[in-house]
């Protein structure tokens, strides 16, 4: 006897298998479109996968919690992948070391710019306080950004989303913008991508070259640290609330 399809759905909807497979499939579809389009920025695979998944989850009335029970296995790999960034960083260490003074100066300039520009624009356009606080640390890597957000009165889970969106914007437009303002050095491009767009920028930088990837991984780590120290201070100094 053949089972009732709704029984199968009840089983699948409650098991991590379905949402894990969906996550990988959505990403493969996004990546396929990205390649087919000749790597057009608008076909960013992360963005496409997210849109696709949100549409499907909404259509099937599935909660994010249920989805995450399957997707957490992918999410978990972020930790070991971050550790793995030590390898390109080590391989490019000589170049990085020679650029140390320039790295420190641009880290400070970039980190302050990231926090101030986001906060001021959101404030000028009338966003409420908790939303402004949530957007302030958006260039830092997710766990740092969420911690800072909580500390300054934001909503950590909103911050997580804004961090990812910032990452996608940087990955989509970053290299084009840098070329346009005459920044062509792979190391500099990588550093700017990683500072602005953390891990997603680093994923993009690794596609450019290993040099870009190494500088990007470094920028991600350093800006995480800088944001956790500077963001609470800057928000306090601005005294927007």
């Amino acid at each position: 006897m053949i089972a009732n399809p709704s029984e199968i759905w009840v089983y699948l909807a409650a098991s991590p298998l379905l949402h894990l497979t969906m996550t990988l499939t959505a990403y493969l579809v996004g990546d396929y479109c990205f390649r087919k389009s000749g790597q057009k920025a608008i076909f960013n695979p992360v963005l496409m996968a997210i849109v696709l998944l949100v549409v499907i989850l909404r259509a099937t009335n599935t909660s994010y919690e249920t989805y995450f029970e399957g997707a957490q296995f992918v999410h978990f790999l972020l930790g070991p992948a971050t550790v793995a960034l030590a390898v390109p960083l080590y391989r490019q260490f000589d170049r990085v070391r020679h650029s140390a003074p320039a790295i420190l100066v641009s880290l400070l300039a970039g980190s302050v710019t990231a926090v101030l520009s986001a906060t001021l624009i959101a404030w000028l356009l009338g966003a409420p306080q908790d939303v402004i606080a949530s957007i302030a640390p958006k260039s830092a890597t997710t766990p740092i950004a969420m911690g800072v957000s909580e500390q300054i009165g934001g909503l950590p889970s909103l911050t997580a989303v804004l961090v990812i969106l910032t990452g996608i914007v940087g990955a989509m437009a970053g290299t084009t913008i840098l070329e346009r303002v005459g920044v062509r050095d792979a190391g500099v491009q990588g550093f700017a991508l990683g500072l602005t767009s953390h891990g997603i920028g680093t994923a993009r930088a690794l596609q450019v070259s290993e040099v870009a990837g190494a500088f990007s991984a470094l920028a991600m780590g350093l800006n995480g640290l800088a944001t956790s120290l500077l963001a609470p201070l800057l928000v306090h100094l601005l005294g927007l609330w």
Partner: protein, 124 residues
């Protein structure tokens, strides 16, 4: 699967675990995995080379790094209402801030590199 791959994965997880423990112990403002990256980096500095297996496993992980951000990104559905209510402020702040930050960082670094290289060339 060769057990070398298991060994490499254990190494990566052990670095992350050590990072998590140390950040909590010392109350550092850095997440565990970032400190784990520093730990592995120091280990490589001492070893003075990247073992082939480590290179292969990390290459595979990093090649698909952007996939790993998808589950957190889907969290956008939790805040649909807040995002819709503030969409003008949020999209302007996200887009403009990302562009401004990329440009400032890239231009300042290019300028700083040029300055330090000229100094070195001048000293030589």
């Amino acid at each position: 699967m060769s057990n070398r791959i298991v060994l490499i994965f254990t190494l990566l997880l052990a670095c992350q675990l050590a990072g998590e423990v140390v950040t909590r112990l010392l109350r550092l403002p850095v997440p565990g995995p970032v400190l784990g990256m520093v730990i592995l980096f120091c280990a490589l500095l001492m070893r003075r080379q990247v073992p082939d297996d480590l290179s292969a496993v990390t290459g595979g992980l990093l090649h698909n790094l952007s996939l790993l951000f998808v589950p957190a990104g889907v969290g956008v559905m939790l805040h649909a209402q807040l995002l819709v209510e503030n969409w003008v402020a949020l999209s302007a702040a996200l887009l403009l801030s990302a562009v401004i930050t990329i440009v400032v960082t890239g231009v300042v670094m290019t300028w700083a590199l040029r300055l330090t290289q000229e100094k070195k060339a001048g000293a030589a």
